[in-house]
Assembly symmetry: C2
Homo-oligomer: 195 residues x 2
Amino acid sequence: MNSDLLIANITKQVPLSTAEQHLFTSLLEPRTVYKKEYLLRQGDICRHDYFVNTGCLKICYTDEKGIECVTKFAIENWWVIDIESYLYASPCFYYYQAVEDTTLLQISKTNLEHLLQTIPALQQFMTTRWQNSFIALQHRFVQSLSLSAEEKYRLFREKYPGLELRIPQKLVAAYLGITPEFLSRLRKKAATDFS
Amino acid sequence: MNSDLLIANITKQVPLSTAEQHLFTSLLEPRTVYKKEYLLRQGDICRHDYFVNTGCLKICYTDEKGIECVTKFAIENWWVIDIESYLYASPCFYYYQAVEDTTLLQISKTNLEHLLQTIPALQQFMTTRWQNSFIALQHRFVQSLSLSAEEKYRLFREKYPGLELRIPQKLVAAYLGITPEFLSRLRKKAATDFS
């Protein structure tokens, strides 16, 4: 189990002593979710906080027309949690499915709460993490309402560098809220623009 | 200056000793923003965290067609901050304008950071605040993509009880992303449904 990426992710924001790092690492469990398997299904209760070491998950819901809406992707160095389900033990509205074989580290709610009580810097890390998650979602919201598909595609490539080469195009299209055919046209245009 | 509502807002989530409450209160400044005045304009730097005691603000941006988009309202007992501007000293993308005469309490970034260092429970309050803000924004995002105007209107009335009687209908329509005429039809239908 390699926790270097996770520890670096935290210590980039807040300092942790060697003892605190060891304590954190001792409470992590490895988890593998193979391609097409679910980390969490709609209706599950989320009882862990997760960190992606390698691979990619899609976070989705099905709209009232039965269409899969991709709200985001979680790739290496991303935290994953269904925060509403985790906080309130309510059924997940979203589902979390592996797009590639994905290795994660997970920590249970009980253990994470213990860490937050024991390591004050970690509480500060959590505040910053959720403030930044809020900012990212705000951007995505405004973009979805205001930007052209071309602009949204450009931002997707900025946010997830190289990801479009790893995953099916129909998933990128579902994230952008456009058809795969339209995405194909955007890709050709982008290739021409940057050639 | 009445800080009872603010202190109750915090102590509903986390305990604060009397000394901690006094320390917090001693660092608050009162602020009044009269109807149509701005708390923050687009391009300003947000240097405070704000709490609404009375009144109502609208939080908006102007889209590329010059149309005002209302992202949310801040009423009594709500916190207001432009978190991206506050954290990164970047210009506000949103503007914060009073819809009614609004009284607030504000705390400067320096003082809030001092409090967060001094009162550990406050850091926990902040994490919870931002987790809940994230959940609320996630709901609004999915609703904006998936729900009918009628359903969005029902949720608006649930989230902001009585607010539609206090503010111009065109603002409610701008929040819902529909025309005032269409809102008027929804209101008549709701009045019939609930009569």
